[in-house]
């Protein structure tokens, strides 16, 4: 059946298909690719991957070519031909046992070396970011800087980051494809993954994902990583340490004992670039951060570094369409001051959410909202952070993100979990006020 004519027809067809796939792979933009690593760990993995791909491709071509050749050469020609009744060939069989064994040795040795290098303890000077997984959002804490944020982190280029991974509920997994591999968040375990983002790379946003199935909204548990210059990072930290910008009663931001915020560019060597063995990890950056230039917070610093919206690449801005079930008058203009009152009053937002600087808002169940206005997305990367989305989120978060534990707050809204229509709750103007308040928290 696989006569040579059919085979000849198949070969160009297959070639076209492979070329089309390869072309598709080159021509498009792949914002979450694992093929272009931007950290030492990413490159160590990529070094192994390239070797695996090389050997894998060689074996693939060899076996499939042999199969196609045999199919073509030994297809039935004549029913009367009796092929030789061979039962085996011991030297041949030993050969094709040993060759794979040798190939595997070339994979196993660098594999084991890489495992021990990359799983060593993180270097002493590393910046620690505590990661807490929640169904379905990410809580991030910078213990050295006393900063708490959600679903969005800034990291300075060229400085080793040690992610300390824990979960508040079920299992999750932490993955930033362009920067490093995954590590699971497991109850009763504390896991680490650490790497040094390249010192020379774009100031931009990377997508992060949850990659361990964690329930209904596993698909909508994203986070954003912003790689910035060290000076920008210092400025960002100062800003994050301050209470929400809206709040009139700004108190000194640095709580007692907090590590000084400003971090100067480090003198750490640039991690290996192409040409140097990628298996070695970057030398730990042990340079202590120099003392802060200005220990007190000024108004200028409060307005300081946040990656401008215009610099956020399109792939980091969610495109999830609004559910049609929720209606809202987007022309309503809210009053932020009233919104703050509603936040701790009728809205009862403070039961779950904290806003630093607002003594009444100290909830710990939901994401910390101190600087929510400055974030790119809401709902753990599900929706873009703007007034229409925020308003509908507040009105009916359980339709916006099915399975969500955030209650349905709008009045007269259908709550898909309780399967009832709310009789009390916020009116649209009230929601607009809260939106104004949240947007002011920059």
């Amino acid at each position: 059946m696989i006569g040579s004519p059919r085979l000849r027809r198949l070969i160009p067809l297959g070639t076209v298909a492979v070329l089309a796939l390869a072309l598709a792979a080159c021509a498009r933009d792949y914002p979450n690719t694992t093929f272009v690593p931007h950290s030492d760990l990413g490159r160590a993995i990529d070094f192994l991957w390239k070797r695996l791909l090389l050997f894998g491709t060689a074996v693939f071509i060899l076996v499939e070519a042999a199969l196609i050749f045999i199919i073509w050469r030994y297809r039935r020609r004549n029913d009367d031909i009796m092929p030789p009744q061979t039962h085996g060939n011991v030297p041949l069989e030993i050969t094709w046992t040993l060759i794979p064994a040798v190939i595997l040795a070339f994979i196993a040795v660098p594999t084991v070396r890489t495992i021990f290098v990359t799983q060593a303890k993180a270097p002493a000077g590393a910046m620690v970011i505590e990661v807490y997984g929640h169904q379905w959002w990410w809580e991030f804490r910078y213990p050295q800087y006393n900063v708490v944020t959600a679903n969005e982190i800034y990291i300075p280029k060229g400085r080793t980051v040690d992610f300390v991974l824990q979960t508040k509920d079920v299992l999750h997994s932490f993955w930033i494809p362009q920067l490093a591999g995954k590590r699971d968040l497991i109850a009763n375990h504390i896991n680490h993954i650490w790497f040094t983002p390249d010192a020379k790379m774009a100031t931009t946003v990377w997508n992060g994902f949850c990659t361990e199935y964690c329930g209904t909204e596993h698909a909508q548990m994203h986070f954003r990583v912003v790689t910035v210059e060290p000076a920008q990072f210092g400025s960002w930290v100062t800003h994050q340490q301050a209470p929400g910008f809206f709040n009139a009663s700004v108190t000194p931001a640095n709580p007692p004992g907090a590590t000084p915020a400003i971090v100067a560019p480090t003198n750490a060597p640039i991690p290996e670039q192409a040409g140097v063995s990628a298996i070695r990890m970057a030398q730990p950056n042990v340079t202590p951060p120099p003392p802060p230039a200005t220990p007190t917070v000024t108004q200028a610093q409060l307005a300081s570094f946040i990656l401008p919206r215009t610099s956020v690449p399109a792939y980091a801005i969610p495109h999830t369409p609004l559910p049609s079930e929720i209606s809202f008058n987007d022309r309503l203009v809210g009053d932020a001051t009233n919104g703050e009152k509603l936040f701790v009053g009728a809205g009862t937002c403070n039961a779950c959410h904290a806003v630093a600087g607002n003594a009444l808002a100290a909830g710990v169940i939901g994401p910390n909202l101190t600087h929510v206005g400055s974030r790119i997305a809401i709902g753990a990367g599900m929706y873009v952070n703007d007034a229409p989305h925020l308003a509908r989120w507040i009105k009916n978060a359980r339709i916006m993100k099915p399975g969500n534990i955030m209650p349905t707050l709008g009045k007269g809204q259908y709550d898909p979990q309780a399967k009832t229509v709310t009789s009390t709750g916020l009116s649209d103007p009230q929601i607009a006020d809260i939106v104004a308040y949240l947007q002011a928290l920059r």
Partner: protein, 638 residues
């Protein structure tokens, strides 16, 4: 000359009509009317009460094909949802139920029972036995599988299907995070199905050890029976582990124990170790029978004995052994530490060696042959081509650091579908096309068969090859949707089109299957000119299989056997007598195993709903078992 070399050149199969495969023997011409399907006559009672391994095998085949269609339909809905970004064909909750049930169905209700259909039908025929060692236990296994399969499959129709993934990781599947009855069905259903698999496993081990015909030494056993033998050991050694792992979860969910309760110090990794210590051997449980089927198909159509038979046997055993030492490669991201990661990485690489040997030996079998590309042979060759790809990507994630980028991404989905679809399913299709004549006495339509193959082959690659790319470009698994602009759209569209193509291919197969069963050309005892024992008897075989038990002198009695082989084949092929006429004692039909199975499953339903139902079902099952055990298996021998 003492040895009559018959050789595989006799019996050229479909093209030339009916051949017996035995020289000097007139072609056995089955009449086109139902006289050839004597095994399958009789009303519904004969199926409910049967203890005949061939009828039980047929029941397994139909049931498993039904569940294969169910699992396939679930997959089509999944692919429909992922065909474009931010699509909402189904809700997130339903998507999660669908992917959980797609995996559970395909593994436990389709591929394993499809293999079991072949175990049942073929093992006694290949070793020259009249039935399995425990015919009534065999019936019990089937009924438990059927009722258990319905138990776990029906809830999704009401929106209450299991939704914790086929792996059911804790703590997500504990009562605290999954309070509904969804996971209850999964936990209990898997326990039920485990009973079926274990009973069958012990049954086949006993059968293979004790019921081989005279002269059928272990190293003369057909390779399918050998791979099945290894598989049964994997089943009886690995299923108790998942039984325990899930029993802890069952206790936690129903009786408030705290095996997996993190607040009480429970360790989610304990569950993962128990699950994968079962889960990895399970991969070989799914693929070894397909190895065996392909190793039967390729020699027949190449007109050559299997290349390197002893090495094929040893590598199968070695894969079985090593399969128990690699489980933690499913857990490279959990942070086991560098030593464990290194050990499991290296053992995983080692398993590639015996697997590679098998692939080269299949190539060696075809090389220098006269390869006849019937549909069965196309599927077998397709199996070699596709399983190779799955094997190579498997080595790619045997390296733990590299796996940190690949695990839980679509790259893994691509990998294991090349293993389970390109491997198990292609091998099983090769087996179905090859053994259909033996099962039903009729040939399958080759034209439709080849249409099925090519649609399936192209569809399969179109579905799963792009997943390598979507995975390496950062797409996580088990997501009900994804956002646009992530670079995944084109690959997902390809995968979805491919899935539709597989759907069309499957419809062609179903049509061919039922059409050929009614109207296929009569097959005769040995339509392919094959060499093993099952081809020495009529198609379909009479209830007693062999009129005279054969004496075996070689691996391929019809190709290289001595006079004795030929003589018994001649008698067996021509026998049109009934068991009574031949004085052969066969087990009674009995419905008691079915009742025992039914009440067993009802007990589990009672555990979920009502304790009185639980008590009543337990009592009824005890009575059924007692009645079963105190009634004689077969008429007294005289």
């Amino acid at each position: 000359m003492a040895t009559t070399v018959i050789g595989p050149n006799v019996g050229t199969g479909v093209d030339t009509g009916i051949e017996t495969g035995v020289p000097g023997l007139k072609p056995f011409t089955p009449s086109p009317a139902p006289a050839t399907v004597h095994s399958y006559k009789g009303g519904i009672w004969s199926w409910l009460a049967t203890t005949d391994h061939k009828k039980i095998g047929t029941l397994y085949l139909f049931t498993a094909l039904f569940f294969f269609l169910v699992g396939g339909l679930e997959a089509e809905i999944l692919r429909m949802q992922l065909g474009a970004p931010n699509r909402h064909v189904v809700s997130p909750e339903m998507y999660n139920q669908l992917f959980t049930m797609h995996g559970t169905t395909m593994i436990f209700l389709a591929i394993m029972p499809l293999s079991a259909a072949f175990f049942n039908f073929l093992i006694p025929l290949q070793i020259g036995a009249r039935d399995v060692a425990f015919p009534r236990l065999n019936a019990f296994s089937y009924w438990v599988y059927l009722f258990g399969g319905l138990f776990i499959s029906i809830p999704i129709l009401f929106g209450h299907g299991p939704d914790g993934g086929w792996f059911g990781y804790v703590p997500l599947t504990t009562r605290a995070y999954s309070p509904g009855i969804n996971i209850d069905f999964w936990v209990l259903g898997l326990q039920i199905l485990g009973i079926s698999s274990l009973a069958a496993g012990f049954n086949f081990i006993t059968t293979i050890i004790n019921l081989r015909a005279p002269g059928m030494s272990l190293m003369r056993m057909p390779i399918f029976t050998w791979m099945s033998f290894v598989t049964q050991f994997l089943i009886v050694l690995s299923f108790p582990i998942i039984t325990i792992g899930i029993f802890f979860l069952l206790m936690d969910r129903f009786f408030g124990t705290q095996f997996y309760e993190p607040a009480a110090g429970g360790d989610p990794l304990l569950y993962q170790h128990l699950f994968w210590l079962f889960g990895h051997p399970e991969v070989y449980i799914l693929v070894l029978p397909a190895f065996g089927l392909v190793s039967e198909v390729l020699p027949t159509f190449s007109k050559k004995p299997l290349f390197g038979y002893p090495v094929m046997v040893y590598s199968g055993i070695l894969i079985g052994f090593l399969g128990f030492g690699v489980w933690a490669h499913h857990m490279f991201a959990v942070g086991m530490g560098p030593v464990a990661d290194s050990v499991f990485g290296v053992t995983t690489m080692l398993i590639a060696i015996p697997t590679g040997v098998k692939i080269f030996n299949w190539l060696g079998t075809m090389a220098q042959g006269q390869v006849r590309f019937t549909t069965a042979c196309l599927f077998a060759a397709g199996f070699v081509a596709l399983f190779t790809i799955g094997g190579i990507s498997g080595v790619m994630h045997s390296s733990p650091p590299a796996d940190l980028q690949q695990t839980d991404s679509y790259f893994i989905v691509a990998h294991f579908h090349y293993v389970l679809f390109g491997g198990s399913i292609m091998g099983i299709f090769a087996g179905i096309y090859y053994y259909f004549p033996k099962l039903f006495g009729r040939m399958m339509d080759e034209k439709l068969g080849k249409t099925h193959f090519w649609l399936n082959f192209v569809g399969m690659n179109l579905t799963f090859f792009p997943m390598h790319f979507s995975g390496m470009y950062g797409m996580p698994r088990r997501v009900y949707t994804y956002d646009s602009g992530q670079g995944w759209d084109v690959f997902n569209r390809m995968s979805t089109w491919g899935a539709y193509l597989i759907g069309v291919a499957t419809l062609v197969f179903v049509f061919n299957f039922f059409k050929s069963r009614r109207m296929g050309k009569p097959a005769g005892p040995n339509p392919w000119g094959a060499g093993t024992l099952e081809w020495t008897i009529p198609s379909p075989p009479p209830p007693y299989n062999f009129a005279v038990l054969p004496t075996v002198t070689s691996r391929y009695p019809l190709w290289e056997g001595k006079e004795a082989d030929v003589e018994s084949a001649r008698i067996n092929q021509q026998s049109g007598k009934t068991a009574e006429q031949l004085g052969i004692v066969l087990p009674y039909d009995t419905i008691k195993p079915m009742f025992a199975a039914f009440f067993l499953v009802l007990m589990f339903v009672g555990l979920m709903t009502n304790r009185w139902l639980l008590a009543g079902a337990a009592g009824a099952m005890t009575i059924s078992l007692y009645a079963w055990l105190t009634s004689p298996l077969e008429p007294e021998h005289h």
